[in-house]
Symmetry: C2
Subunit: 343 residues, 2 copies
Amino acid sequence: MSLLNNLVLKAAKGEKTERVPVWLMRQAGRVLPEYRATRAKAKNFIEFVKNPELACEVTIQPVDILGVDAAIIFSDILVIPEAMGLPYQMIEAKGPWFEKTIKTKSDIDALKIAEGEDLNYVLKALQLTKKELNNRVPLIGFCGAPWTILAYMVEGSGSKTFSKAKQFLYTEPILAHQLLEKITQSSINYLKSQVKAGADMIQLFDSWAGILSEKQFYEFSLHYINKIVQEIKPLVPVTVFAKDAHYALNKIADTGCNTIGIDWTINPTKARNEAGKNVTLQGNADPCLLYAPEKTILEETHKMLNEFGAERYICNLGHGLYPDLDKEKVKYFVEVVKSFKFN
Amino acid sequence: MSLLNNLVLKAAKGEKTERVPVWLMRQAGRVLPEYRATRAKAKNFIEFVKNPELACEVTIQPVDILGVDAAIIFSDILVIPEAMGLPYQMIEAKGPWFEKTIKTKSDIDALKIAEGEDLNYVLKALQLTKKELNNRVPLIGFCGAPWTILAYMVEGSGSKTFSKAKQFLYTEPILAHQLLEKITQSSINYLKSQVKAGADMIQLFDSWAGILSEKQFYEFSLHYINKIVQEIKPLVPVTVFAKDAHYALNKIADTGCNTIGIDWTINPTKARNEAGKNVTLQGNADPCLLYAPEKTILEETHKMLNEFGAERYICNLGHGLYPDLDKEKVKYFVEVVKSFKFN
């Protein structure tokens, strides 16, 4: 069963594409009224994530409504801590919250290494979505990078500084590595199961890479990202998105990942120079550009596409869509990319 | 009246210093129990900021207690919006909040350009502190960079994304420039008065530089920072700290500012290469390093100092101190820097 639209996969593998492929982070949700309608069917966010039918529905919506070139499974990066034995709640307007956090060696010892079957609801959602997509576009699976997962498990919630999590790295580096290793093994098991369930490619989200120093990023984050890339890359293309690790593009490329996601503070030409020619770049429009009038969206997007160039490039935002963006503007952005022709 | 300890000023001017000078962002407050005792004398944060005697007290505390090489006047960057006619409140555990925000041309027209006398309470605090310091160390004045001030005036509060403020740049660029111009003129008036009142140097804080794209940073932020630098530099040395504008070090140096503050995600050697040799660098220890055992603090600090080298360098953190840091650890860090000798 070959895909009818495999532009994103081709670009990830370094093959030429007839036009620039485009998908959007946080496209499965937030900006679509259709998402909010589906969301209302579940009692709360966690129930929503655990319902394969509803997850499938919101995963496919942006393909139908926005015309993007890939679907990304609707889920949450915090399903991994939960599968390891550390459940979370999603507090309305506040974000994730863990009743128990990781502080000691015995806390870490008590965690299990998650297996694919511990996350059966995600695998079912993937299987269902794969079937419903009917090979129209590739299906992207994902998980959080180990450092970002540790950050939540130690901090217990979102934070501007994640100072508890960083304190843990400075005061308990050996424990931190033990925890990162367990998260990494769990993530590898999980991602392998995602691929078996139908994921055509995988993205790792290191949402909190930017709060680490360069040295810490290499030691506590990239080391484990690299382990995951080595295990998953033989199966499907892997994208690494380490938000705000602006200094690390060449080192991320060295992992051999297929694609590097970059945020909007990174200059496309500089990104290409630093990452080299053997990796695809994905990004990096400012989500706030989609608040602008259509004329500005058109001009800025054309400028960005010309800077990235035709090869080894997947268009996306530099961060997720914001919930209050106008769906028509988002659609317009996707159309601008799809109809763009290089001079 | 010459200063007994002018190491920070000498370093800012590019003169050799017998040892590395050190001061800490957010040193006037947060981490000291003595600060909290003084803070308790005021009804609320705004009253605290507006009380010259209390502001003087907490400004001098870190000089006495931590042994830092400069005092920075205790105040808030949001005194400028207030002086322009847009008052704010400081909500406990939430941060700043503006009842009225800027949306339209008439909102901007209604704002006044602040004069020094509108901020008399800060000037009095500076005069008092200058006198009480008795020339022991230089006194640093400061204000927010115009973009950061606009961000609060439009957004109305702190925010992870400042999406309303960025939306304003994309949808109302002409109004944004009008507002930035008014903030810039107000800031220049304010800073000139600070110098007259005794400030020996000035730091501009662009706390939200990092949420702009590179192009936006140059257009909406650095353009106005440059105007301020041109007006203030003939009077006293000026430091520009544009948090997370990692790509802009050479452009910031081009303003002719004396010192560039850098955060802990920026490699010292790279910073020196990009900023050039005619500007002083200030930074960039991770505040979370001060949670670490003394051995780690010593090793990491020595490493950082060796990387920055002996010339044109002022030691500081890459961000402000966190309130839950142990005062003794902060003191230890300062001692490590002061007793450091280059090989």
